[in-house]
């Protein structure tokens, strides 16, 4: 077999988001990779298969017959001690729903990417955040990123977080399908040595694994409250507590990453021009790029507006967000998905909940804007609208709480 080509220094390469994922996975040296195609992330598996064939990815690549099996392969290979990866999107993400709960419940550090896409029912091959939010209660760590360089960096960081013995939880790096998966940018591909050094601390981590050397059962039944019910409660509590620890961990890992690679994403959230802002937009994903441009433009026009880019979705960084929003006069939340049953967007519901839990005044004007469903662009003009309406609300004007952008009635 060919020796893997080891980059000794960073390299600039024009990549789309899918290739960014593949580079990050290759550099993280996984043992077992499961691939299955689904638009818009199929190229991830194509690159990994090709590099595996060429010898630059020295892993077992399993070309499974469906996403439920890709999650199965990853869970068990990780449970056996391996580093694993799979990628999916939308229908595929939902088809591995039992596997998602399995991975989280067993505290298996699977690293996965999801190219955000609309979910089945209304057949669309387009972006939204509907899939990503639909699985937010599976117990995973979820981050959502803004651009292709961040995809690459976030996947490498995901291994450091997921496999950390303080955490031991599966982690999903979400990126906007279509917008990022197919957009090409010049990316800095890190040097292999640097990635090896960054991931080196994980070599110390020990976890219970499936091995004949130390036979163990994975899957204690929890039928009888007296014997196992308390065990289940204990496991659930520990799982939830581990998720809480992710908040600090992601900030620390971000700093470690910056020390080696010179790039930082500010951990849980990125607060963009919020310090002196009166009103703040809250968004996640690729729309944050557009939002930053509009914030800059409105700032030039004298509007004191800022942006919170929410990177960490699970656990939800409510403390950090509330700290930034304290004393602000108005908030506008941009959503790319619909939280059914609340008739608003998911991020909005999460944010309202966070504000209440963190004791911010319930009178704080807070608006929600739903747009960008099924690949509709969230345009500069639409973001301007969100700012203008939030500004109006902050000044006491009556504004509809939830605005569906691009809705033709």
């Amino acid at each position: 077999m060919n020796k893997p080509a080891v980059e000794t220094k960073p390299n600039i390469e024009v990549c789309d988001g899918n290739k960014a994922v593949a580079h990050a996975v290759r550099l993280s040296r996984p043992d077992v990779v499961a691939v299955y195609p689904i638009t818009p992330q199929s190229a991830v598996g194509e690159w990994l298969s090709r590099w595996n064939d060429e010898g630059t990815l020295n892993a077992e690549v399993v070309r499974v017959e469906g996403e439920n099996s890709s999650m199965g392969v990853c869970c068990s290979a990780s449970l056996t001690g391996g580093r694993v990866f799979t990628g999916t999107s939308s229908w595929g993400l939902l088809f591995m729903m039992d596997g998602l709960h399995y991975a989280a419940g067993y505290r298996i550090p699977v690293v996965m990417t999801n190219a955000n896409r609309e979910t089945p029912g209304i057949f669309t091959i387009g972006n939204s955040s509907q899939d990503m939010w639909s699985v937010r209660d599976a117990g995973w760590i979820q981050v959502n990123v803004e651009d292709n360089q961040e995809i690459l960096d976030a996947v490498i960081m995901a291994y450091r977080i997921a496999e950390d013995t303080d955490i031991l939880l599966p982690m999903m790096v979400c990126y906007d399908g279509f917008y990022l998966s197919y957009r090409k940018d010049p990316l800095e591909i890190p040097a292999q040595d640097d990635v090896d050094a960054f991931l080196a601390p994980l070599k110390q981590s020990k976890r219970n694994i499936v091995t004949p050397d130390d036979p163990m059962v994975f899957g204690i039944p929890s039928f009888f409250p007296k014997d196992q019910g308390e065990g289940c409660t204990e496991f659930r509590y520990k799982h939830s507590a581990a998720l809480e620890r992710v908040k600090d961990k992601i900030d620390t890992v971000d700093k470690d990453f910056e020390a080696i690679f010179g790039r930082s994403y500010a951990g849980q959230i990125e607060a963009y021009r919020t310090d002196d802002a009166d009103i703040v937009l809250v968004a996640t994903g690729s729309v944050c790029g557009t939002a930053k441009v509009v914030v800059d433009k409105m700032r030039d026009d004298g509007v004191k507006v800022g942006l919170i880019k929410v990177r960490l979705l699970r656990p939800f960084p409510k403390e950090k967000i509330a700290k930034v929003l304290e004393g602000k006069k108005g908030i506008g939340v941009i959503d790319r998905s619909v939280c059914f049953g609340y008739h608003c967007g998911h991020l909005y519901m999460e944010l309202k909940s966070a504000l209440a839990l963190e004791g911010l005044p319930t009178t704080l004007p807070t608006l929600n804007f739903i747009g960008g469903l099924a690949n509709l662009d969230i345009t500069v003009e639409q973001v301007e609208t969100t700012i203008n309406l939030t500004l109006a609300a902050s000044k006491g004007e009556t504004v509809e709480e939830v605005t569906w952008l691009s809705l033709e009635e």
Partner: protein, 451 residues
């Protein structure tokens, strides 16, 4: 562990009660043909279907030897014969009460006990039996070959009375050994206790509880990791028919097609027994389950069972076999081959697994029910080896019993009408004919490409 010896096997369905064996025994022991001197006898109550046998079983752990106060009875470690020493016997006859088989009896003429000594390895009764209801053979070769293997499963289990899954679990693990990772998806096998009891593991191998939907891919993930680090570990899935033929079929099919290296055992109890007897795709036609009730419109299941093992043959698995536990030697032979085949790809074993609880029959009849399933040809025992490219029937039933003899022994078929019985007989014959087409000349090479 011990040793298996030659002994006299009895086939009740072949016995016609002619008593030639009795005369032959008396003749060789006393040179008279007086039945009173015979060490063997056959008898039948008017209500019984078959004759019963009274004869010494030359037990491995004989009660007569244990209970003899004079040490007149001993087990010969070389021949296996339980030997009666006339010179030590005090004629207390306790042995005749201790023996559960009427294998040692009191002879009122000689005023002594008497018992079979296997005629020094050439029993007269066997030679005299024209219908060949008696056979002198080693009944426990398997015991001699595998008896010393360690039982890797916990002694106490949570199985129903007469559960076949426990037998499967013990024997499969025993043969495959401790260098194995076991996957037991939701179903009876975890219910029996494979995934532990009260937080403690029940097996001496690592065992995990995969999803019902993706057992084969989860096991593949373990194997792939071991391949990656260059370690040889055997993979064993013990899944029910739901986890193999129904919701688990996609991952099984995918893993088989990819040639994932594992032994996948389907414990086919013909339905969802662990959830309370619901139908599955392997539930046979006519069978009662809670979701194929017997009532006004329905008379049990209306569709035939999915022929899963044949489907696995068509996946070009390295090895495919059917098994039933009354034929334990056959099963162990197949496990042997499966272990080897699983180093190259998938080995699939489909075990016919009658369930006293879900099928409604007496737990004591487990082995007999399974045996009738095989001997009616409803469950043919065969194997497929990829390199030979054909199916080989490993237990040929020369004169198959009518399916009704099997069906009437099971409660879930109690309601069957004559039409349904005729249908099942016809389908059984058709299926067996189809199976035969895959044997001998019919090479399967290239079959998957032809589709």
């Amino acid at each position: 562990m011990g040793k298996g010896y030659p002994t006299i096997a009895f086939y009740p369905e072949k016995c016609n009660g002619c008593n030639d064996c009795v005369e032959a025994c008396a003749q060789i022991k006393t040179e008279t043909s007086e039945p009173v001197h015979s060490r063997i006898s056959v008898a039948k109550d008017p209500d019984d279907e078959f004759y019963g046998l009274s004869l010494c079983r030359q037990c491995g752990d004989p009660r007569c030897v244990m209970d003899c106060p004079a040490r007149a009875l001993t087990k010969n470690e070389d021949t296996g014969v339980v030997h009666w020493d006339e010179t030590k016997c005090v004629n207390c006859q306790i042995c005749t009460l201790a023996c559960p088989y009427a294998g040692i009896t009191y002879n009122r003429i000689t005023d002594q006990v008497m018992k079979c000594d296997l005629c020094n390895g050439d029993p007269a009764c066997v030679k005299a039996c024209a219908p060949m209801a008696l056979e002198y053979k080693i009944g426990a070769e398997i015991y001699n070959t595998w008896g010393d293997l360690e039982d890797l499963f916990v002694p106490g289990v949570g199985a129903c009375l007469g559960c076949n899954s426990e037998l499967i679990m013990r024997h499969t693990l025993r043969r495959i050994g401790p260098n194995t990772v076991v996957a037991t998806p939701p179903g009876c096998i975890p219910g029996v206790g494979s995934v532990g009891v009260n937080g403690i593991t029940s097996t001496k191998t690592p065992v995990f509880h995969p999803l019902l939907t993706n057992t084969a891919s989860m096991l593949a993930g373990v194997k792939r990791y071991y391949n990656r680090i260059g370690r040889d570990v055997t993979m064993l899935a013990l899944a029910g028919d739901g986890g193999a033929a129904d919701v688990g079929f996609q991952s099984l099919s995918g893993a088989a097609e990819r040639g994932e290296q594992m032994i996948f055992v389907c414990v086919d109890n013909e339905g969802y027994m662990n959830t309370g007897v619901q139908r599955s795709s392997t539930t046979p036609y006519g069978a009662w389950t809670t979701t194929t009730p017997v009532g006004e419109a329905l008379q049990g299941k209306t569709r035939d069972a999915k022929p899963l093992p044949l489907l696995m043959v068509l996946h070009s698995c390295e090895y495919v076999a059917t098994a039933a536990l009354p034929f334990m030697e056959d099963f162990y032979m197949k496990l042997d081959k499966a272990i080897e085949a699983s180093k190259r790809g998938m080995a699939f074993i489909h075990i016919f697994s009658p369930c006293p609880t879900g099928w409604r029959f007496d737990p004591s009849q487990l082995i007999e029910v399974a045996r009738k399933g095989v001997e009616t040809n409803m469950v043919p025992l065969w194997e497929y080896e990829n390199d030979l490219g054909r199916i080989n029937i490993t237990h040929v039933v020369n004169e198959p019993l009518p399916v009704v003899t099997y069906l009437k022994s099971i409660g879930k078929y109690r309601h069957l009408s004559d039409e349904q019985l005729v249908y099942i007989q016809r389908k059984t014959d058709e299926r067996f004919e189809l199976l035969k087409k895959f044997t001998k000349e019919s090479k399967l090479e290239g079959l998957s490409d032809a589709a």
